[in-house]
């Protein structure tokens, strides 16, 4: 048998040498952040030691079993094969263990030395992902050393960012307590879907966004994310339909079968916990109020019904019914209002009173529509409170989108453009979609042309100055599809298509 104990000091020295040579390489974890003290071995060194000792031990075990197998015991061959497999895949479970223990640096290191079948072509990216995941399991707020580690992580300083790096970026923001930035980064990642073949980053990003939507009790968003599901996670399919079913939304029964529910106990458990913590009982069915013959009372009752439906269940037909009943009230209710004006001695005209009532309705509907997710389409009847609320919301979202696109245009000047531009891009694309969802067809091209120009200029700047080819490709590909879908063509579309070709 080989003297294993005697080899450990040699491994220790090798590990320390590895730790010291890693200092100036510029690749991987910065040595300054890993150093525990002047005389102590580096964390890199310790991790290399554990990794090396484990592999060495497993290889020795393999040699022993080989000897036994040659001696005649064939069953030992299986044990030996298992040990070899263990020797090569050892860092992967070690990395998972480090994540659970809340040790970002250790998790990152073990991932970098993991087998390529697990990390793919981007070990540095996955190392950053594992480190970011470990942040969530830390019991105390991250120390300044850990923050330095994330600032120095090599994956964030490469010429191009991969899907894994973007995922790590989002999870890091989440771990550091910035959920809005995390949401924006992960939304940007989901839009990379056509360009990356591996599903795992999308599955992790979708799971985070779904959990986030659940925490905010944003059930519409949760169901949308589960149905989109770019990572094709089976749990999300079932979860989305369970939530839709309980919230009174339309259920896609092809995704929700008894068999599916049985196969996905985790989704059911998650939803039961979320439902117990957050969900409020929603009405099973809420039919519109019947007409009573008093047009103003009918319009007010319909308004109350619409507000009771809430943002998750309000639909375009419901808003159309509100508009229709309001129109009847505005036409036929003048006489009733005139009588009450005279009886109470008010100095206002019936038209003014009805206008005030409409303003109140509009403000309520604006609040409702801000939280709702309605598909864009034909406007409501001219002059109705629903149409006024839609137009106001459209203007609000146009302003937000243009401001966001301008921020993206200038993102090349941010202190850390390679990192921060992705967050700004995610927020801009979300703002674009929010605007396009509520704007009428005729209102879209003007705003989207101006914002699209900012996006093109910003992406070109990031490509030229910061070599962010991947970000550029994402923006130009996305615009090449989004421009024609929203009625934008001509010079801008040509520019997007030409740049999309150049960045491939």
């Amino acid at each position: 048998m080989l003297p294993v104990a005697g080899l450990i000091p040699l491994l220790l020295i090798a590990a320390r040498v590895a730790g010291s040579t890693n200092k100036g390489s510029g690749r991987g974890v910065a040595a300054s952040a890993l150093r525990g003290g002047a005389a102590a071995p580096t964390l890199d060194g310790w991790v290399a030691l554990v990794n090396g000792a484990a592999r060495f031990g497993l290889c020795i075990g393999f040699q022993s079993t080989l000897v036994l197998a040659i001696a005649g015991d064939v069953t030992w061959i299986g044990v030996g094969a298992g040990l070899v497999l263990g020797a090569f895949s050892f860092p992967t479970p070690a990395s998972e263990l480090a994540v659970r223990l809340g040790l970002p640096r250790v998790a990152s290191y073990f991932t970098r030395v993991s087998a390529p079948w697990w990390t793919g072509r981007d070990p540095a990216g996955w190392a950053a992902v594992q480190a970011a995941r470990a942040l969530r399991f830390q019991r105390r707020p991250p120390s300044p050393g850990v923050l330095d580690f994330f600032a120095d992580t090599a994956a964030f300083h490469r010429p191009t960012m991969s899907a894994q790096t973007l995922l790590a970026r989002g999870l890091t923001e989440a771990g550091l307590g910035n959920p809005a930035s995390a949401r924006a980064s992960l939304h940007a990642l989901l839009r990379l879907k056509p360009m990356v073949e591996r599903r795992r980053p999308f599955a992790i990003a979708s799971a985070w966004l779904v959990a986030d939507a659940g925490q905010r009790a944003d059930w519409n968003e949760l169901v949308r994310l589960c149905r989109d599901n770019p990572g094709r996670a089976g749990d999300l399919d079932v979860l989305g339909e369970l939530v839709a079913s309980s919230q009174g939304l339309a259920v896609d029964h092809s995704r929700l079968s008894r068999w599916g529910v049985l196969r996905r106990p985790r989704a059911c458990r998650w939803w039961k916990q979320a439902a117990a913590a957050r969900a409020r009982p929603a009405p099973v069915e809420l039919p519109p109020p019947p007409q009573s013959g008093d047009p103003i009372a009918d319009a007010v009752a319909t308004h109350a019904w619409l507000l009771r439906l809430g943002p998750s269940r309000v639909t375009r037909p419901a808003l159309s019914l509100h508009s229709a009943r309001w129109r009847v009230a505005a036409d036929l209710g003048r006489a009733t209002v005139g009588r009450r004006v005279a009886a109470l001695g008010s100095r206002r005209s019936p038209e003014e009173v009805l206008g005030s009532l409409a303003d109140g309705f509009r403000d309520d509907l604006l609040e409702l529509l801000r939280a709702a997710t309605l598909p864009g389409g034909t406007p409501f009847p001219e002059g109705s409170p629903a149409e006024e609320a839609r137009v106001r919301l459209s203007h609000e979202r146009a302003d937000a989108f243009l401001a966001q696109s301008l921020a993206f245009h200038k993102s090349g000047n941010l202190p850390n453009p390679r990192r921060d531009a992705w967050v700004v891009l995610g927020q801009t694309l979300v703002a674009w979609e929010a605007f396009a969802a509520c704007a009428a067809e005729a209102e879209r091209p003007g705003v989207l042309e101006e914002g699209g120009r900012n996006l093109i200029n910003g992406a070109a700047d990031l490509c030229n100055r910061w070599r962010e080819a991947m970000l550029g490709q994402l923006v130009f590909d996305w615009l090449s599809e989004a421009f024609p879908a929203n009625g934008v063509g001509g010079e801008l579309l040509e520019l997007a298509l030409r740049n999309a070709g150049l960045t491939r």
Partner: protein, 109 residues
């Protein structure tokens, strides 16, 4: 001046219907203020078309002041609608999966 929000309609705050007279509104306000002052639990909330809302002395005073102004009273009358019936839970929506969800582990993989 815009109409009062449905959840803050003065008639709802005072537990009245829109045909209440001036005298009725004053009496209702005095009664509510007295009960709120001694911390009577039964008047701590009021019913609205959008569900129950907490009632405070300030809200009662604002409501009665609004009903003294003819313009505001007119808008409050027009924007008044009876409170909604309490809605049931989502038991019906869950019924098909209740037995499955009650089970901790699936009986087959």
């Amino acid at each position: 001046m815009s109409a009062p929000r449905l959840g803050e309609n003065p008639f709802a705050v005072l537990d009245l219907t829109s045909d209440a007279t001036r005298t009725e509104t004053e009496r209702a306000a005095q009664k509510l203020l007295a009960m709120l002052a001694v911390g009577h639990g039964s008047v701590a909330s009021y019913a609205t078309p959008l569900g129950p809302r907490p009632r405070t002395e300030a809200l009662v005073r604002t409501a009665v002041a609004a009903l003294r102004d003819p313009d505001q009273r007119l808008l409050a009358e027009l924007a008044w609608t009876p409170p909604a019936e309490a809605q049931g839970a989502t038991a019906a929506a869950w019924a098909p999966y209740a037995d499955v969800l009650a089970r901790r582990r699936p009986c087959f993989p």
